[in-house]
Subunit: 336 residues, 4 copies
C-alpha cells in the first residue's frame, strides 16, 4: 500500500477541470492523503466578510489536484473511495451569495428583482461530539447538528479537450454537491484523458439535499482517498456505491433532465448486474429506487438515483472493487 500526500501550496490550487499538469502521480491501488481548502479559498474569516467581495468569482471552489493515475485511459472507469473526510478547522462557513441559490434570481434565471441579502453564518465544528452548531443571526436560536462530511467537487479532466470551471457539474463529475460523497463511499468517474487527472475539493461538514441556499457548511478538509481503476468500465456518467446502495448521477438543466439521466443510468446498471431486460429493469427501479436532489443551484443541477443492493441480489459491481477498497481503507485506518 503506497501512501501519497497532496497538500497544495496556495498558488497550486486549481479552479478548473482539464488542461492542467498533475501535482502528483499515483498507481491504481494507492492511497492519497489530501488537504483541501474551503470553497472561499480560506478568504472568509469572519461573518462580516462578504464572500462576493473577498473572493474573485473565478477563484471560488479551489480543488486539489490533478492527480495522475498511471495507466488510466479513455474508456476506463476510475474508482475513488473516500476513506475519511475530516474538517480541518474549528468552524465551517455558509452564506447566501448574490445571484446564487434556488430561491433567488440568478445569472440564468434572470430577473429584474433585487438580489437577496448576502449573509454569512459561522458554525462551530466540534470533532469530539462530531457536531456543527448553527447560530441564528437575527435571534438567539442555536442548534447542534451531526457532522456528515463530504466533498462537493470531485472530478476528472473532461473529454474533447474541454476545460471547465470547477463550479459546473457534468459527466466528468465536478461540482455535483451530493451528500452521498461521504466517507465509506466509492465514487466512479469515467476516464476521458490519459491519467484521468483527478481533482477534489469543496468540502462540506454537512449539506442538505438540494443545497437550496447555494452553500453547505463550507470547510477545509483533511481527507484520505483510495483510488483504483476499472479497465474498460466507463459508464456515461459518474456513479457511487456505498455498502447498501448503488447510485447514479445526472447533471443537467432543467432538473427533470438531471433526473432522467440518473434514472436511465440506474436502469442500465441494474440491467447489467441482473441480466434483466431493459423494461424489466425499468420496472424494478421504478418501485425500489430513491431519487434525492443533490444540488439545485449550480450551473447544472444534479439528481441522484439510488437502488438498494438487495434489489440486485447483492451482485458485485465492477468485480467487487468497492469491497476491496473498503478493506484497503480499513487496513489504512488500522495502521494509522
Amino acid at each position: 500500500m503506497t501512501i501519497h500526500k497532496l497538500a497544495p501550496l496556495p498558488e497550486q490550487y486549481s479552479y478548473v477541470f482539464g488542461g492542467r499538469d498533475p501535482l502528483v502521480s499515483i498507481r491504481p491501488g494507492d492511497i492519497v492523503e489530501v488537504s483541501t481548502e474551503d470553497c472561499f479559498g480560506g478568504r472568509v474569516t469572519s461573518p462580516t466578510d462578504r464572500p462576493s467581495e473577498v473572493v474573485p468569482f473565478a477563484e471560488l471552489n479551489p480543488v486539489s489536484g490533478p492527480i495522475n493515475v498511471e495507466g488510466a485511459e479513455p474508456g476506463d472507469m476510475l474508482a475513488v473511495h473516500f476513506v475519511s473526510i475530516v474538517p480541518a478547522n474549528p468552524y465551517a462557513i455558509s452564506c447566501t451569495f448574490p445571484s446564487f441559490g434556488a430561491l433567488t434570481g440568478t445569472h440564468e434565471t434572470a430577473m429584474l428583482t433585487p438580489d437577496l441579502e448576502e449573509r454569512v453564518w459561522f458554525y462551530d465544528i466540534d470533532l469530539d461530539s462530531w457536531t456543527a452548531t448553527f447560530r441564528a443571526t437575527k435571534s438567539d436560536f442555536t442548534l447542534a447538528m451531526p457532522l456528515d462530511p463530504m466533498h462537493g467537487t470531485v472530478g476528472v479532466a473532461p473529454a474533447s479537450g474541454e476545460v471547465r470551471l470547477v463550479v459546473t457539474p457534468s459527466n466528468h463529475g465536478g461540482n455535483m454537491d451530493t451528500p452521498e460523497a461521504r466517507a465509506g463511499t466509492t465514487l466512479y468517474l469515467p476516464v476521458n484523458v490519459a491519467g484521468a487527472m483527478l481533482s477534489l475539493g469543496d468540502g462540506h461538514a454537512r449539506q442538505g439535499e438540494g443545497e437550496v441556499c447555494g452553500t453547505g457548511l463550507e470547510s477545509a478538509m483533511n481527507s484520505v482517498i483510495a483510488v483504483d481503476l476499472i479497465k474498460g468500465g466507463a459508464s456515461g456518467w459518474p456513479r457511487l456505491e456505498s455498502d447498501d446502495f448503488l447510485m447514479t448521477t445526472g447533471s443537467a438543466r432543467p432538473l427533470e433532465d438531471a433526473f432522467r439521466i440518473s434514472q436511465k443510468e440506474l436502469v442500465l446498471w441494474a440491467s447489467d448486474l441482473t441480466g434483466l431486460d431493459t423494461l424489466d429493469a425499468y420496472q424494478l427501479v421504478s418501485q425500489l429506487g430513491l431519487a434525492p436532489a443533490a444540488n439545485v443551484c449550480d450551473p447544472n443541477y444534479t439528481m441522484v438515483a439510488k437502488l438498494p443492493k438487495w434489489a440486485v441480489k447483492d451482485a458485485a459491481a465492477y468485480g467487487g472493487v468497492h469491497s476491496r477498497l473498503r478493506a484497503s481503507a480499513a487496513e489504512y485506518l488500522a495502521a494509522r
Copy 2:
C-alpha cells in the same frame, strides 16, 4: 369517535376534483373507512390486458369521494391522517403506458420517436409476510420486496370553481404520488370550498421515488383515515407530517419549480415554528433538509422537502394535531 364507511359503487367513483356532490358528510375528528379502486378501475385483470385499451383515458385513477367536512371553509387547513392503508387484492399491477413515464416521449415532451412497448407486471401481494413479489417478464428473476402502502391521489376541490382531472397534482393536492402518504402520516390540505370535498384513491402497495415508469404497484385499498380541521390554518400548498419529519410539497413544471415551491414552503414553515427570520430559516433548511422526488411523470411533477422535527426543536405544528390524530388512530386500531 364517529366512524363512517365510504365504499363507492362502480358508478359513484369520481375522476375529477371539484364540481361533485359529496358521497358522505363528516365532522372534524371523525374517522372514515374508505375503499378505493386501483388506478385502472379494476379493469386490468391479467398481464395480457393492455391498460390503454381496456381503460378509457378519462377513467384512469378513480377516486372515492368527495367527503364533505362540516365547517370547513376557504382559509382553513384540512388534516387527513392515514390510520391504515391495506391492499385489498392478492395482487398489484404495474405497467408502462403509452406516452407516459419519465423516460419516454409524452403528450407534453412531444417526440417523433415511437412509444415504449406497453407491458404489464402482476405482483403477488402477501399481507402475512407484508411483501410484494416481482416477476420479470423476459427472464426468471423474481424478487420479494416489502410493502409500503400509500395513496397516490388525495385532494380537495380546487379554488375558483376549477374542476381538475384526478391525474394532475397541484395546490389542491391531487395525484402527488409521493410514497410519504403512508399510514402514520398526516396530510394537510388547504381548503378552497365549503366542506373541503376530500377525495382519495390511487393506492400503491409501494412506489419508488419519482415513479419513473409512471406507475407504482397499483392496488385497490381498504383504508382508514382520521380527519380534522385547522381553522384559518391554510398554507399555499399541501404539507405532510410524520412522527419524525415536517414535509412540504410543490407540484409544477419544470421540476426545479416544484423543488422551489416545496423548499420555500419548508422555509416559511420552519420560520413560523421557530421564530427564525426568513434567511436564518433558509439557512437551516439548506443544511438539514431532504429533497426526494415524488413523481416525475404526472401533468405536474411533485417534489417533497423534508425537515427532521428536531431541527425545529420538536415545535408542535398546528397545535399538535398530528399527535392527537395519532392517538385517535391508536384508539381506533385498538378497538378494532
Copy 3:
C-alpha cells in the same frame, strides 16, 4: 349569413372554460358581433389603481361566452375567423402585477426575493391614426406605436369534464396570448364537448412576443368573428391560419415542451398537406419554420410554430375553410 350579437351583462361574464351554460347558440357559417371586457373587468380606471387591489384574482380575464355551436361534437374542429377586432375605449392599460411576468419570481418559480413594484401604464388609443401612445412613468419619453389588436384568450370547453380558469392555456385554447390571433386570421380549436362552447376575451391593442411583463395593452374590444365547423377534423392542439402562414401552438412548461408540441404539430400538419413522410416533413419545417414565443408568463407557456404556405405549395388546409371565411368576412364588412 346570420349575424348574432353577444354583449354580456357584467354578471354574465365567465372566468372559466367548461361547465357553463351558453349565452347564445349559433350555426356553422354564422357571424357573431361580440363585445369583450378588458382583463381587469373594467375596474382599473386610473394609473393609481393597483390591479392586485381592485380586481380579485379569480375575476381577472373575463370572457364572453360560451357560444354554443350547433352540431359541434368531440372530434370536430372549430374554425373561428377574426373578422375584426377594434379597441372599445380611448385608452389601453398595461401593468406589472405581483408574482406575475417572466422576469420576477412567481407562484411557480417561487423565490424569497420581494416582488417587483406594481406599476400601471395608460396608453392613449387613437383609432384614426391606428396608434397607441406609450408614456413613461419616470421620464418624459413618449412613443406612438401601431395598433395590432388581438384576443389573448379564446377557447372551448376542455375534455373530460374539466373546468379551467381562463388564465391557463392548454389544448382547449385559453389564454394563449399570441399576437397571431389578429383580424384576418382563423383559429382552429379541437372540440371536446357537444356545442364546443366557445368563449373569448382578453383583448390586447397590441402585445410583444412572449408578453414578458405579463400584460399587453389590455383593452375592451368590439369584435366580429365568423365561425365554422370541420367535421372530424380535430387536431391535438389549437392551430391558426393566416393568408400567408400555417401556425400551430403548444402550451406547456418548461418552454421547450411548448416548443416541442408546436413543432410536432406543424410537422404532422405539413405531412398531411403534402404527403411527405414524417422525417421529410420534419426536415422541411426545420428549414422553413418560424418559432416565436407567444407568452412566457401564464400558468402554461405558449410557443407558436409557423410555416409559410408556399412551403406546402399552397395546399388548402381543411378544405379551404380559411378562404371561405375570408370571403364571408369581406362580405360582412362590405355590408356594414
Copy 4:
C-alpha cells in the same frame, strides 16, 4: 482598410473556443476574408454517408480561427460585422443525427426509446437564383427555397480559462445557431481574454427558427467580416444589430431561462439607449419586442429578443459602430 485572408488548412481547424493560439492577428477596423468548413468537416459527401459514422463527435463543427484582435481586453465589446456569407459548394447538407434534435431523446433528455432514423438530405445550391432545392427522400416532392446564409457558430475565448466545445453556446457566443447572424448584421461579443480570440464556422445556407431537427442547410462558406472594438463596452451576453433591429441573446436551459436572459438584456439595453427607468423599459420591450427561438437542440438553447430601432427613436448603439461597419462593408464590396 486592411484586408486579411484566413483559409485554414484541414489540420488548422479548431473544435473549441479558448486555449488556442491565433491563426491571424488583426486590428480593429480590419476586414477578414475567411473560409469555413461545413459542420461535418466536409466528410459527408453523399446521402448514403451517415454523419455519426463518418465524423467523430469531437470533430463536428470545425471553426476558423482564432483571430487575435489587437488591443482587445476583458471588459471590451467586439463588433463583428458580416459583410457577406456565400455558400462555397453547389450543395448543402442536412440530416437527423442520433440523440440530437428537439423531437427525440438526447443525451440530456435521456429516454429508453430508440433514436430516430439517421437520414441525410442533399440540397442543390444555386447562387444565380439564390435558392436551395429540397428533395424529399420518400416521395417526389421538391421545393426551391431562398438562400439566407448565416453562421451558426461565432464566438470568442470564454472567461476564467475555460475551453468549451464549439457545439455549446453560452455568454462567449459559440453555437447560437440564430438565422439573425446573416450578412448586413453586426454581432457584438463581450471580450474575455486579451485579443478576444474570435472564431467562426458552421455556415447554414438557411435555417428555420429553433433548428428543430438539429441541423440547417450545412454548408462551407466564403465569408467576409469587418471587425471593430468598443472599449469598455462589454455586456453580459452576445447582442446583434441589423439596420432595423436591436437584438439580444440568451443561451441556457430550460428554454425559459434563455428567454429570460435575452429579455432582461434587451430591457437593460433599451434603458441605456433611452434613459428609461428599468420598469418603463420593461414595459416598452413587453409591447414591441419579438422573441424568436434560435436553437432548441444544442447543449444550451438560444432565444433571441428583438426590438425595432424606432422603439428607441433610432438611438445609436455603441456610438454608431454598426453604421460605420455597414459603410466599411459597402466600400469593400464596391472595390471587389
